[in-house]
């Protein structure tokens, strides 16, 4: 097939046949109650809401909406479990329960991946290879800490806090549940967790796993609902610790709500990460890193590399290669194993992204989208880049949480650092260069909690994650993630 010079023929006659993951092996109930004290119970509120598949807009299930009375009941159950079996259990035994959870999740991995993709819209390739295995790995990692906490903080004694109230977002529903629950349990706490209202199913399936693992009732309670349910948990006097992942605005509200209380808190909030490409980088690898940085999980990633800074001398080349690569990205059915970019998580999120596309254009940015077709039904957004934007552009400053990249250029490293750090956020950053000394100069200079050099969007249970500045307070993952669930004493 004839192509213009120096342009790769990505569509050179070879197409992809659909390769959908089957769904006949999964079981989703038509209705879910709240998981409290070891059982699924009807909500006292009597209310349920639909959870839908964002790729088809079809209803998957109905899920209970917990009100204050339901939250009271869950926290009460968690308190009793903390005072009772869980609090009295030997740490090593606690760890063994957690190992069981990890093992059962591994056994049921395929089921979890399919449900995750159905409920949240993320490509099966990601839920299968990243979300679910990492979630199981998290339980496995923290299980081992349960009886070793005295070695983690030299010179201090470590005690559990009590009941942890945990609120998680919709972008990595199961993985975030694991990030929250695993360290809490390892440190001897009990848990009330609220999944996001658009993606409750894998947390409820995790409740099944927890029951299957035989944990004492009340150690983990899962209450579904929207913002009001979350607020009831945060404000509850029976909660000793609040862990939240979500937007910076809600995080701010939570910090204000907790003011004057003795509750400990960790907040994992928004980001606007800079991904910095130097002229001496391995350009093709860097382009892959840009794609992974911003289009991974539809860009619904708090640490997404949503601001690209390219050294001026290679900007044309990088942008041309990026556009070529964007053409190859397959947007569509999340259950198709070929799919690169799945469905936008909800109609609300799609509206937000589209409003930013308008803003970006209105502010004078030049927008480019790949030319791929997207399904008629469901919520979709083509991979999008903006050039010709400035530091003050809203698409550069504000978190979009979608597959939208703002591109700027720089000449010197210090210009790149100044621009990269010109944001109230500080969650993550990326550097691409072949020069070791430059890597250290840049990774030290970026004011962010996670910095990827010549890679991007990598996660591991052993690796602490969390932000500087307005991207949050505290760390999750690794040894440093234990601190959030312990009271350290002299």
């Amino acid at each position: 097939m004839a192509t213009p010079e120096n342009k790769l023929a990505f569509d050179g006659g070879w197409g992809y046949e659909p390769a959908p993951e089957s769904t006949d092996h999964i079981k989703v109930d038509s209705r879910y109650g709240l998981f409290i004290n070891g059982d699924f119970v009807k909500p006292k509120s009597g209310k349920y809401f639909d959870t839908i598949n964002p790729a088809t807009e079809g209803k998957l299930s109905r899920v209970a909406s917990a009100n204050q009375a339901d939250v009271d009941r869950a926290i009460q159950a968690a308190r009793e479990a903390y005072r009772g079996p869980w609090g009295r259990m030997k740490a090593a035994e606690r760890g063994k329960y957690m190992y069981r959870i990890a093992r059962i999740m591994q056994e049921r991995a395929r089921e979890f991946s399919v449900i995750e993709s159905l409920d949240g819209g993320k490509p099966i390739r990601e839920s299968r290879d990243i979300d679910v295995p990492l979630a199981a790995a998290h339980f496995f990692y923290y299980a081992g800490w349960a009886d070793k906490l005295q070695y983690a903080f030299p010179g201090r004694t470590a005690k559990p806090l009590g009941v942890a109230g945990q609120i998680i977002p919709w972008n990595f529903p199961l993985l975030m549940a694991a990030w929250k629950i695993a360290p809490a349990l390892a440190c001897g706490n009990t848990v009330v967790l609220k999944p996001a209202e658009t993606t409750p199913l894998t947390a409820l399936k995790l409740a099944e796993v927890i029951a299957e693992a035989g944990l004492p009732p009340g150690v983990v309670n899962i209450v579904t609902g929207a913002g009001a349910t979350g607020a009831a948990i945060v404000e509850h006097s029976g909660v000793d610790k609040v862990a939240f992942t979500g937007s910076t605005n809600v995080g701010r509200m939570i910090q204000k709500t907790l003011a004057g209380s003795s509750k400990k808190y960790t907040l994992e909030l928004g980001g606007k990460a800079a991904n910095i490409i130097f002229a001496d980088a391995a350009i093709d690898q860097a382009v892959e890193g840009i794609v992974n940085g911003i289009f991974f999980n539809q860009g619904h990633v708090c640490c997404a590399g949503s601001r690209l800074f390219v050294q001026e001398s290679v900007a044309d080349e990088v942008i041309a290669k990026l556009k070529d690569r964007m053409e190859t990205l397959i947007v569509g059915d999340p259950l198709d194993k070929n799919t690169d970019i799945g469905a936008i998580n909800s109609s609300m999120q799609l509206e937000k992204i589209q409003s930013y596309l308008k803003i970006g254009k209105a502010e004078g940015g030049e927008m480019h989208q790949s030319s791929c077709r997207v399904p008629k039904k469901g919520y979709w957004c083509r991979p999008t880049i903006f050039t010709g934007v400035s530091q003050s552009s809203r698409v550069v400053q504000e978190e979009i949480f979608g597959p939208v990249l703002a591109i700027q250029t720089f000449r010197r490293y210090d210009e790149a650092l100044t621009k990269a750090n010109n944001t109230p956020y500080g969650l993550s950053g990326g550097i691409w260069t072949d020069k070791g000394s430059k890597i250290f100069k840049m990774t030290q200079g970026i004011r962010a909690g996670v910095v990827w050099a010549n890679t991007f969007n990598k996660f591991d249970p052993a690796s602490p994650f969390g932000g500087y500045k307005e991207s949050g307070v505290g760390r999750e993952g690794g040894l440093h993630g234990l601190d959030a669930y312990l009271k350290l004493g002299a």
Binding site: R252, G260, T455, K458, D460, P464
Partner: protein
Amino acid sequence: MAANRIAVAKTYKIYIGGKFPRTESGRYFALQDKQGKVIANMCRGSRKDFRNAVVVARAAQPGWAKASAYLRGQILYRIAEMLEGRREQFIAELQQQGSTQRAAEKEVDVSIDRLIYFAGWADKYQQVFSAVNPVSSSHFNFSVLEATGVVSILAPDDSSLLGLISNIAPAIAGGNTCVALASESKPLCAVSLAEVLHASDVPGGVVNILTGFRAELTEFFASHMDVNAIIYCDGGKAVARMVQTLAADNLKRVVGRTHLDWSGDAENPYLIRDTQEVKTTWHPIGS
């Protein structure tokens, strides 16, 4: 000293950016001894003074954080040396503000030793709190501590020298810069400490010290959008609530040290860690 010689009294001023200005507001408050005699007219620092101090603290922070840990340790040690040399002056000031001689001597001695203590930590806490993380993929992954940035400190009212030093030393040992509000009832030593800092190779702007009214200035210390962390040491629930509420506007790290026994509890590296961020860096392992 000739009996008829007139003593030269010191003008107590605030310390911003390595300089000793008077408060821009022109206001003062009279510090009195137990007999009601005026000891000094202290600067009644203002919101504007605080903002000026934050500007210089921000400007000084990257350079201070980049100074080698060895150098920061030596500078902290130097502060202790200078304080030791002026030991009698600090004891006298504490006595002027109501301390017994014995208590004053103890406070100054422990303060000097506290500086030595944190001087030693400046190049060691990193090794205690850092980690190389065994990730499953083919990456080298490590977590280190970095300074949070600019720290505002509402120093304890009662422990006016030791409490102040126990908050400043761990913050700057870890590469932060700070703006501290001195004890309101016993502010003399804070200003004299500023003079010690000034003679100790502490770069201008790294430590800034204001005197003034707690009730007036607390809200600005807590709410300033270019401050990364706030430490408060006094007050009940109402103060804690106000500080934490205002701090939330830019997600400040809030450190409450209200129940610390400054002579006993304040010697551990976790005071440094309170104003540190964990940074995790990844790099692929390949050829």
